[in-house]
Every structure is written in structure tokens, then in C-alpha cells.
């Protein structure tokens, strides 16, 4: 798993690839935690190169969403989510906790 961050004026884009599972979710958690500790609460997760997300991965995103949305100071949004991942998230009823954009440009533009 590679995790890269790109800062924009109003948000930070975090891009990762491949699988987000129990083995590497802590790596993503560490990157997101550092951002929120730096006071960056508007986060776009670019998932266009992600092909699998296990529950451990969703919990990293849910926890980060909790931190960001506290005091209405920001939000985690998702971009480029594949249909299979979107369907699995919908099936377990967790789709409602995230805004999903087709691509990074529209996600960044939402802030």
C-alpha cells in the first residue's frame, strides 16, 4: 500500500491503492491521524486505485469521519469508488456516512 497526500487550498487529497485490510489499515490510520492532528479536517480519499476494503479499513474511515465532523469543522469524502466497493458498503448500511464523488476534481470542488 502506498499512501500519498496532496494539499489543496481548502482540503487534502489522500490517495492509496490496492487493498485496505486488517494488515495495512493501521498505515492509513497513521496518515489520517497526522492530518487531523495538524488541524486538517477536510479530507478527500481518492479510491480510484483501491480494489478492496475490509471492515478494518472502513473503521479507519469512520473514526476519521467522527474526528473531522466534530464541531462541524470538516468532513471526509470519498472519490472514485468502484461499484463493487460501493455496493458492499451500501449492503451493510454504511454508505450514508460518506459523500461519494465520481472523481477527485468534483470532490475537491465540494469544499
Amino acid at each position: 500500500m502506498d499512501v500519498t497526500t496532496t494539499e489543496f487550498k481548502r482540503c487534502v487529497v489522500v490517495k492509496t491503492n490496492g487493498r485496505i485490510d486488517g494488515a495495512n489499515a493501521p498505515e492509513l490510520r497513521a496518515v489520517l491521524k497526522q492530518l487531523t492532528e495538524e488541524g486538517k479536517f477536510n479530507i478527500v480519499l481518492d479510491m480510484s486505485a483501491v480494489n478492496f476494503v475490509a471492515s478494518a479499513g472502513w473503521w479507519v474511515l469512520i473514526d476519521t469521519q467522527k474526528t473531522c465532523q466534530q464541531f462541524n469543522r470538516g468532513e471526509v469524502v470519498l472519490a472514485g469508488v468502484s461499484n463493487t466497493i460501493k455496493d458492499s458498503l451500501s449492503l451493510v448500511g454504511m454508505l450514508t456516512y460518506f459523500k461519494i464523488f465520481d472523481d477527485v476534481t468534483s470532490a475537491v470542488g465540494s469544499f
Binding site: 494488515a23 478492496f52 475490509a54 471492515s55 469521519q65 463493487t84 458492499s88 454504511m94
Partner: protein, 123 residues
């Protein structure tokens, strides 16, 4: 974990499952294996997970066997969804996801081993 995923992906293709059903199998097996590593083997880094499959006329059956600590699946709470974000809790989400995406999830325990059978039918 990736090798188990590749193994069951191959099995799903052999069974003729479509993309969504294949993803469901990958997800359920990943959650199951994660539970075995974390709970049955207590993150010790040691222990065997035997993974096998059977192609059914209408789908795929995957079996995972471990020799770690058994657990009572009925004791795992069903996570509360449709609640405000701040009330969402992770406990039980792995098993909940498994049950949601598969057609059958069966746990069997014996003194020697724990066996989990997962069935996904063709859509």
C-alpha cells in the same frame, strides 16, 4: 492474507460467480481470516488456517478451519447501524458483513478445530 484472497478469487471464477459475488466472497473470507488471526490465534503470529473450496451446482462453498481458541458467534453483538455517526461502534462488524454478503455462514466447533463454512450462490 493476500494469498488466501487470490485462492478464493480463483475458486469464485471457477464456480462462475460474477464480479459482485466474487467481491462478496473475497470480503467474507478476509473478515473470517482476520477474526481467526485476531481472536482464535490472539495475534500470536502463529497458527494454521486451512482454506478449501467446493464448487456447487449453484455456487461456491468455502471452508476455513483453524485450531485456535473457539468463540461463540452468538455472543458477538449485531452492530447498530442507522445510528448517528458518533454512536457507530466497530464491534461485531466483521461477522455482520460476512452474514450480509454471503448466502450461508455456519460455525462448527469441536475440541480439535473450529470450522467456518461460507456459501455464495450464483446471482
Amino acid at each position: 492474507m493476500e494469498s488466501i484472497c487470490q485462492f478464493v478469487t480463483q475458486a469464485a471464477h471457477e464456480a462462475g460467480l460474477d464480479e459482485a459475488a466474487t467481491y462478496a466472497v473475497q470480503l467474507a473470507v478476509d473478515e473470517a481470516a482476520t477474526n481467526i488471526i485476531e481472536h482464535a490465534y490472539q495475534n500470536s503470529g502463529e497458527g494454521v488456517i486451512e482454506c478449501s473450496y467446493l464448487i456447487l451446482g449453484d455456487g461456491l462453498e468455502i471452508t476455513l478451519v483453524d485450531h485456535g481458541i473457539p468463540f461463540d458467534p452468538d455472543a458477538v453483538p449485531t452492530p447498530e447501524l442507522n445510528v448517528p455517526l458518533e454512536d457507530l461502534k466497530p464491534r461485531g462488524m466483521g461477522i455482520y458483513m460476512m452474514r450480509k454478503v454471503m448466502d450461508e455462514v455456519r460455525f462448527e466447533f469441536s475440541p480439535q478445530s473450529n470450522k467456518l463454512t461460507l456459501v455464495k450462490k450464483k446471482t
